[in-house]
């Protein structure tokens, strides 16, 4: 179940289907933008009255801000992430004049991936059969087209920040990309044998003229059968002579202004001379050329909307208009289309942009376009352009960070896109880290490889607590799967002393049960790591004793065994095992234990039985009946050891005496 993000600031209501919610609803948080909603349980009294409880229980998975998760937008997410990161690292690069072209390039890169996404969506829409899906792709496509429209206007106004003259050329380009109605008409018209007879012929010509596409307009006119007449030739000449502001010739605005005035005066003269009196259509074109207010109103259907009309009007009335002055030309055009009440949300965003109210642009875009991708990336770009003075919000950090966090949260909630979300959080100086710490612990670790990846993310950011918790989770998982070796290696990674002690205990218990060590490949190569906990050290050393014994190095084995006992490294309950291990050494043909060493062993044995006796007395004092002392087998073992010890002592004394003499 998916819910589109809120379009308005008021809460969005989502009905959870199912009748089982009589007793209210409960929820628990999932990862990020995800809730698990389920029916509340009735109080016991209610339950008795209704007498029913055996109804199918559903858990509803509710998510929001999911519109960046589908196949086509995922490409956009990943490609724009690259651009975002390059933009962030660029920050420390060139300063001053060299920066602007760079930033414009970043903006173009963003728009090009956006364009690619739109093209993908169109292809997808045209290839699927299901109406539902088709509609979804179509709406997505429209959304991104809208975004592209806003972005390109913002690019012209805020990022390129062009002087008068060039600004209008850019705005015309902007129109050309987004309004292709005229072009479509022209294409239809050209398909006919006599284009001029098509009622759309003139509309197409007007469209071209309104968009300042003079070459195309002249081409259309040259198809007319009357092209040889004076009126048509005069119009063609006018159009040909129309000055256009070019980037590269280096002409000043004043120079251009003069040329323009000169040309327009000529147009006015020709109109007044009645050169086009017999050709209503040419007259209309000429009226456009001289910037006649009435004619724009007349052609308002061809302009489609107020901002198209505004640019067209400015072309013929004020071609060197400056960016900041654009806002003084909006109202008359808006009025032509029914006034402010008819301005739709998208147009409001554009209006705000023209009025240079960046915050309004972002605010309206956030609430109208159900998409954090656009506002977060645009805001970030504008921030880098220095267009965004630090704007403190009533909540959280500044606007840029707030939007980046929202966008990243959407990504972090996705099972696969979480990796893309992390760089965005990295670039939120104030709250990014806290967010990341929260999210990273909730990423499900399905395999060791994934765990290594998450671990690397933590290590690169010095998030030691989170890194340790990952190791612990993986260690516990391995333990539950009965994989002691894996568990130990995860434990060593996080240097978790308690866990290491526990695991070493497990290894020893297993050894006592089977008489065999498992996981030798790991235990034999512990090295320094065994010093992590006493119990682990004991385990490692005890295994070393076995190895020495197997290799026949009895002397080393003996002293190791003795040091394990005398240094009190061995746990008490393991002493008997150790003493039993000494048995074959005591009974060996050669004397291995010296008398001094034998005394120490005897001391240990004595201490063991003494402790046992003390405990037994204590228990009897407390009248606890079922005291379990040493089992019969253990007692037998102890007497065997005692016997071996005394025999060895005798031999050792004799042996030492012999050597001395």
């Amino acid at each position: 179940m998916k819910m589109a993000s809120e379009r308005e600031s008021d809460p969005k209501v989502l009905l959870v289907p199912g009748s089982a919610c009589r007793h209210g609803m409960k929820f628990t948080w999932g990862v990020g933008n995800q809730l698990f909603v389920f029916a509340g349980t009735p109080t016991s009294a209610e339950d008795e009255v209704s007498g029913e409880g055996a109804e199918a229980a559903y858990v509803h998975d509710v998510r929001w801000n999911t519109d960046m998760h589908d196949v086509y937008t995922r490409k956009l997410v990943n490609e724009s992430n690259n651009i975002f990161l390059m933009l962030q690292s660029h920050e420390h690069g060139i300063e001053g004049t060299g920066r602007k072209p760079q930033l414009v390039k970043f903006s173009r890169n963003y728009r090009s991936v956006l364009k690619a996404c739109i093209m993908d969506l169109i292809a997808a829409r045209d290839s699927v059969m299901e109406e539902e899906v088709k509609k979804y792709y179509h709406s997505q496509m429209e959304l991104f087209q809208m975004i592209e429209l806003i972005w390109s206007l913002c690019e012209i106004l805020f990022i390129e920040t062009l002087p008068g003259g060039i600004l209008l050329v850019k705005l015309l380009d902007w129109l050309k990309w987004h309004f292709n109605e005229g072009e479509k008409k022209a294409r239809d018209v050209l398909r006919e044998d006599t284009p001029e007879e098509n009622p759309e012929y003139w509309e197409a010509v007007y469209c071209y003229v309104l968009q300042g596409r003079i070459e195309e307009a002249r081409n259309m006119l040259s198809l007319h059968s009357l092209r040889q007449t004076d009126a048509y030739e005069s119009m063609d000449e006018l159009l040909r002579k129309m000055p256009c502001f070019t980037y590269f010739t280096g002409q000043s605005t004043a120079e251009f202004d003069m040329k323009w005035r000169h040309w327009q005066e000529e147009s006015v003269r020709r109109l007044e001379d009645g050169e086009f009196r017999n050709h209503k259509n040419l007259e209309t074109i000429c009226k456009i050329l001289i910037g006649d207010d009435q004619v724009f109103i007349q052609l308002k259907d061809l302009c489609e909307c107020w901002y198209h009309m505004m640019v067209s009007k400015l072309l013929y009335q004020n071609p060197t208009v400056k960016a900041f002055d654009l806002q003084y030309h909006t109202q008359s055009c808006i009025d032509a289309y029914g006034g402010n009440s008819k301005v739709d949300p998208l147009e409001n965003i554009l209006l705000a942009a023209i009025e240079f109210d960046i915050h309004q642009v972002i605010k309206e875009s956030s609430s109208y376009l159900s998409n954090w991708w656009f506002v977060s990336h645009l805001t970030d770009l504008l921030h880098h352009c220095g267009q965004l003075e630090a704007h403190k919000l009533n909540f959280g950090s500044n606007l840029r960070e707030y939007l980046l966090l929202e966008y990243a949260s959407g990504l972090m909630s996705h099972e696969s896109l979480w990796q893309v979300g992390i760089p965005y959080l990295d670039h939120c100086p104030e709250f990014g880290r806290q967010y990341l710490e929260q999210y990273i612990e909730h990423i499900p670790l399905s395999s060791e490889r994934k765990a290594h990846k998450v671990l690397r993310i933590c290590e690169q950011r010095d998030m030691h607590d989170q890194a340790n918790s990952i190791c612990k989770v993986m260690g516990m998982k391995a333990l539950h799967n009965d994989r002691l070796g894996s568990a130990l290696s995860w434990c060593l990674k996080s240097k978790d002393v308690t866990f290491a002690t526990y695991l070493a205990e497990q290894f020893l218990t297993r050894y006592r049960a089977t008489g065999d060590f498992s996981n030798l490949d790991l235990l034999d190569n512990l090295g320094q790591a065994m010093l992590l906990s006493d119990r682990l050290t004991f385990l490692g050393k005890y295994r070393e004793f076995h190895k020495l014994y197997e290799d026949g190095d009895f002397e080393a084995a003996t002293s190791l065994l003795l040091s394990l006992l005398t240094a009190r490294l061995a746990p008490k309950k393991f002493w008997l095992t150790l003493l039993t291990d000494a048995l074959p050494l005591l009974e060996a043909d050669e004397v291995v234990f010296t008398s001094q060493q034998t005394y120490e062993l005897m001391h240990c044995l004595e201490e063991l039985s003494l402790a046992e006796k003390l405990e037994a007395e204590e228990k009897t004092d407390q009248l606890v009946g079922d005291h379990k002392g040493f089992s019969d087998a253990e007692l037998e073992k102890m007497s065997l050891i005692k016997l071996a010890l005394t025999r060895n002592l005798a031999r050792a004394i004799v042996h030492e005496g012999t050597v001395l003499t």
């Binding site: 196949v71 086509y72 995922r74 490409k75 990943n78 490609e79 992430n81 690259n82 990161l85 090009s112 690619a116 093209m119 993908d120 292809a123 099972e415 696969s416 990796q419 893309v420 760089p423 399905s446 395999s447 060791e448 490889r449 994934k450 290594h452 990846k453 690397r456 690169q460 998982k477 539950h480 799967n481 009965d482 994989r483 002691l484 070796g485 894996s486 290696s489 060593l492 498992s518 996981n519 030798l520 490949d521 790991l522 190569n525 090295g527 320094q528 790591a529």
Partner: protein
């Protein structure tokens, strides 16, 4: 500088493999397979071709200046249960794919219908509670060996459901990679920094030899053997260091080369020009290592585009062998003496920030992919 072409495919790539050509000819393969990971229930195995097709693909290349039809084209795809953890071509049309669910599937590519179908499936790696990922699969001739996080090795035979042999306690940690070393011997790397050799002819379950990194038990992630001199083995691990091992020596690696800044996920010798080696990493880079100048006594070539200085640490000095060293001893084993002559190039040059999980090389084209959900094709490399 090598050009890098990217195609975004909306799934994180865990493995990429060239398909071997059908005839043992000299022509270069134009088909490869990718596997995805971490995509919920929608992981896929996809077969792509570089060959010119009738249908052109839009949206290709980072720079967007290339003709759009030059990108890889999807031939067919199939949903795969769990993350794809490893892919090996058994032969031209059969693909072995390992999964994080512990399963290994044999997919058959049906050319006529252009589909992929499961020909056989083994569930060979299991844990007591949670699913146990199978981490690696290798094949040589008719033999298939799989390894998993349960530390188990399985030898499988196509057409037979039960494993031919299972070495249950092959490793106390997870086995991260397995590769054939000789016909009856396999090499494994594990998550506690050990490299083991198993002789499959022996009845015992013990490894015939254990090699290890000194010091910290740094997990090894990947292993590859030299195509013509199998006693030379390269591994990569969590610390991004490239280790070269000589299987004729004892216990420790011959050379450690400081390489990537993060986990090295795959290491590959060039199949026909093994003086060239390729590595990729969690840090988002792909490196081309070229030791041809080490083998030929040329004047030391100035290395170009070297990402940082390559430092070599000798861990273990080779004991003087009894027989005299062959005069043309392999450059990989002698780089220590002439490490300044290794040429290392970063093939991704900063166009990618997310991890690269996998790469494959054939002829002079490297393909790689990772968590940025893109296939990168790097053609026209200079291979000497």
């Amino acid at each position: 500088m090598a050009e890098v072409n990217a195609k975004f495919i909306s799934q994180k790539i865990s493995k990429i493999r060239w398909r071997p050509t059908s005839q043992k000819g000299l022509e270069q393969s134009d088909t490869f397979v990718t596997g995805s990971w971490d995509n919920g229930a929608a992981n896929k195995v996809c077969l792509w071709t570089q060959a010119e097709g009738e249908k052109e693909q839009l949206n290709f290349s980072v720079s967007r200046q290339q003709p759009p039809e030059s990108g890889p084209r999807l031939l067919c795809e199939v949903l795969h249960c769990g993350d794809v953890t490893d892919i090996q071509f058994f032969n031209h049309e059969n693909i072995l794919v390992a999964s994080s669910t512990g399963q290994v599937n044999l997919y058959k590519h049906f050319k006529n219908s252009q589909t992929l179908g499961v020909a056989q499936s083994w569930h060979v790696h299991k844990n007591k509670q949670s699913p146990c990922p199978c981490t690696s699969v290798a094949c040589r001739g008719q033999d298939v060996v799989t390894a998993g996080e349960d530390g188990r090795l399985n030898i499988l035979a196509i057409g037979q459901q039960a494993p031919v042999r299972s070495i249950e306690k092959a490793d106390s940690c997870s086995i991260n990679g397995v590769n054939y070393y000789k016909h009856y011997e396999v090499i494994t790397v594990n998550s506690s920094g050990q490299l083991k050799v198993y002789d499959l002819r022996q009845p015992e379950d013990e490894p015939s030899r254990i090699f290890l990194l000194t010091g910290e038990r740094i997990p090894l992630h990947c292993v590859d053997t030299h195509p013509s001199q199998p006693h030379i083995v390269a591994t990569g691990g969590q610390d991004g260091v490239l280790c070269i091992w000589d299987m004729r020596q004892e216990k420790f690696p011959v050379t450690l080369l400081d390489a990537h800044a993060a986990d090295m996920w795959e290491v590959k010798f060039h199949p026909r020009y093994p003086d060239n080696l390729f590595t990729c990493s969690e840090d988002g880079t792909v490196w081309h290592w070229d030791v041809t100048s080490v083998s030929h006594t040329r004047t030391p070539a100035q290395s170009q585009g070297t990402p940082g200085s390559v430092q070599s640490r000798t861990v273990h000095h080779l004991p003087a062998t009894t027989q005299p060293k062959p005069s043309g001893s392999n450059p990989w084993l002698t780089i220590d003496a002439s490490k300044h002559r290794i040429e290392v190039t970063n093939l991704m040059h900063g166009s990618n920030f997310l991890p690269i999980n996998t790469l494959d090389i054939e002829s002079n084209t490297v393909i790689c992919g990772g968590d940025s959900e893109a296939i990168y094709v790097i053609p026209n490399l200079v291979i000497r």
